[in-house]
Subunit: 384 residues, 2 copies
């Protein structure tokens, strides 16, 4: 097991009716910037519940944060925070809204261009406090201190981490899942599945506990996904388990003492930056490629994954790995994902652009930098 | 899934050499009361490492805290905190030391007799900050806000909970496990196993995630216990997994949205209070009795436990439950536990005393109070 440091101070309020607790958590008179997206919260009742709970606060609304939140949009919110003396931020939405709100929180207190915070070029030293009401389980942003921000003008998508942007609390009411479109559920399922793999499919024999916990999340997703995507009213416990896997999949709880990969995410971010694809869509395409191309480096963990998650115990090493990849692809297909770049009209030119970018940045990604630009190229060709 | 609130702000520093980080975490000049037990830390090198890291602090030592820490002992430490203006407490030891230190932390700031804090009769409103260096994996106290304190003069053992006594940080160096006697490892294994069962063997279908995570801890313990108790040098990763199961077994990470039991612990506490038995020893005796006597109420979870943890899938419902109980007993025996009260000369009189105490306190224990005093009697007779 690797040495590790762990700290996650986020308070979760999980379950039915928890939005009303906002009233107890945010003092009357607080100047709150409430951030949200395209307005789905006005259709599913969440907006009314939040506004009712904040009736004694001074609420400034900032809607219109897009999926893959854009630097230009967020800079407008930062301006509002400064001119309106905002005390705290309340993100009401999914991962994009929460990520964007983290950038607003740190950017409002940053001297200079906040884009410097992205990719680790500058460090945040102060941030506005923030809290969240989650409306879309997927990214785990409600219980971590990371954010992914896009900049459309330069077609970039970069990561930012700071313990200053841990939410003070996050409200997770699984009832918001009832009305989610299947496409968003599918994106969430694949995103959580990929987060878990990034923290699991690396070095063997690091820790039995984390292995079991990661496998438990994968098994849960495999069990609930078809139930959530079935016709008819969704079951509360299915929604709750889906929401719980999302939060537990990226809050540090399964990453104690283990190596992490994140190559699939880094490659997927480029595909989104260049072509605007849904994050989940990119992961569903790239992960099977990573498994295939990195099969020697990840052999032991791929075999364990195949056996424990999919029950694959027969055949040669390569047959078992092939079967594990096939089952993964079938699972992603079963939730509605396409598996080839060509399904989205993406080809040679994009592969060259991505590989060039990684070369220019000097990025060897994956655990211990094993995913070189050459491997990235092979991975993208594998899923072309 | 039940609604739940979760918050655990404890910082973990886990791994080899982490004790040296005390120096970064505790400011020079801080007046630290360092609490410990019978002196094993002076034999395994931990004492020297701690003192070296605290060389710029004003350290007051308080050794001699016993297993099942005693009220009378802890009151002496509270007196020292008051007279010496102690700024913070550093517990260096296992669960008894850490639990005792939590009581000292809250008791030092309590108006009146701190025994009032036990069993929920009074609420702590302030506590001294505390941190821990764990030397014996078992209770999870290093990452929770509970404590169990004994009072030998009245032969009582009661529980205290307050978020004020979450450790600020806990240092977990698995190398301390190398030199632990088998008896302490065995007690730890059974304690962690029982903690996990208390949060798992209750209501079915609450949440798949927590079920998988609890099962993962049990599977890990079953795998590492024989390796730790084997002759010869212990393996680092086995020690690390053992330590991680202890912390993860009672820090709230496996109890989100589920019913909890704790009947076995409540009964076990009485056996320790009356006869001075090791905590783990009492749990190994009582748990099979709880499984047997509560088999109808816990049927679904007992079957799931048997199947997922022990691979039992054949036979009638009762045959499968019998097999699950037998495997549990065999596991406890395999680490060196005796399974009958009579092995310790305990009989009829003690059973009557315990059942009378529960009746007098009006205690119906277990999830939803299903373990009535009558059930407690049947459980104790089953393991007589």
């Amino acid at each position: 097991m690797n040495n590790f440091r762990f700290k996650n101070p986020v308070e979760l309020l999980f379950g039915k009716g928890q939005i009303a607790n906002l009233q107890k958590r945010i003092a009357p008179g607080t100047r709150v910037l409430m951030t949200y997206g395209g307005g789905s919260i006005k259709r599913n009742g969440v907006y009314e519940q939040v506004m009712a709970a904040l009736k004694d606060c001074e609420v400034v609304e900032f809607g219109g944060i897009e999926a893959n939140p854009d630097y230009a949009t967020l800079m407008k919110a930062i301006e509002i925070c400064k001119t309106r003396n905002i005390d705290m931020l309340l993100a009401v939405g999914g991962g994009s809204i929460i990520d964007g709100t983290k950038f607003i929180a740190a950017g409002s207190c940053f001297e200079g261009d906040p884009w410097q915070l992205m990719g680790g070029r500058a460090t945040a030293v102060k941030a506005l406090p923030l809290a969240t009401v989650l409306t879309l389980p997927a990214t785990g942003s409600e219980m971590n201190c990371g954010a992914v921000i896009s900049r459309r003008e330069t077609r970039e998508k970069l990561v930012f981490n700071s313990e200053l942007v841990f939410p003070q609390f996050s409200i997770l009411d699984p009832e918001v899942v009832y009305s989610l479109p299947n496409r968003q559920v599918a994106n969430g399922v694949v995103d959580i599945y990929a987060h878990t793999l990034e923290q699991y499919l690396t070095t063997p024999n690091h820790t039995r506990v984390m292995d079991r916990w990661a496998e438990g999340l994968l098994q849960t997703l495999i069990e609930v996904a078809p139930r959530l995507l079935h016709e008819g009213q969704r079951d509360y416990n299915d929604c709750a388990d889906f929401m719980l896997t999302a939060t537990m999949g990226l809050n540090g709880f399964i990453t104690m003492g283990v190596d992490e990969d994140w190559a699939t995410h880094m490659i997927g971010h480029e595909l989104t930056a260049l072509h605007g694809l849904d994050h989940g869509v990119t992961l569903a395409m790239v992960y099977p490629g990573v498994m295939d191309i990195m099969r020697r480096e990840k052999e032991a963990k791929l075999l364990q994954y195949g056996e424990r998650v999919w029950g694959i115990s027969e055949g040669t090493v390569d047959e078992r790995i092939d079967a594990a990849i096939r089952r993964t692809e079938e699972f992603f297909s079963s939730v509605g994902m396409k598996l080839r770049l060509s399904d989205y009209g993406i080809g040679e030119e994009t592969i060259r652009t991505i590989v060039d970018r990684f070369r220019q940045r000097g990025w060897n990604i994956g655990e211990h930098g094993i995913v070189t630009p050459e491997k990235v190229e092979a991975i993208l060709r594998r899923v072309m």
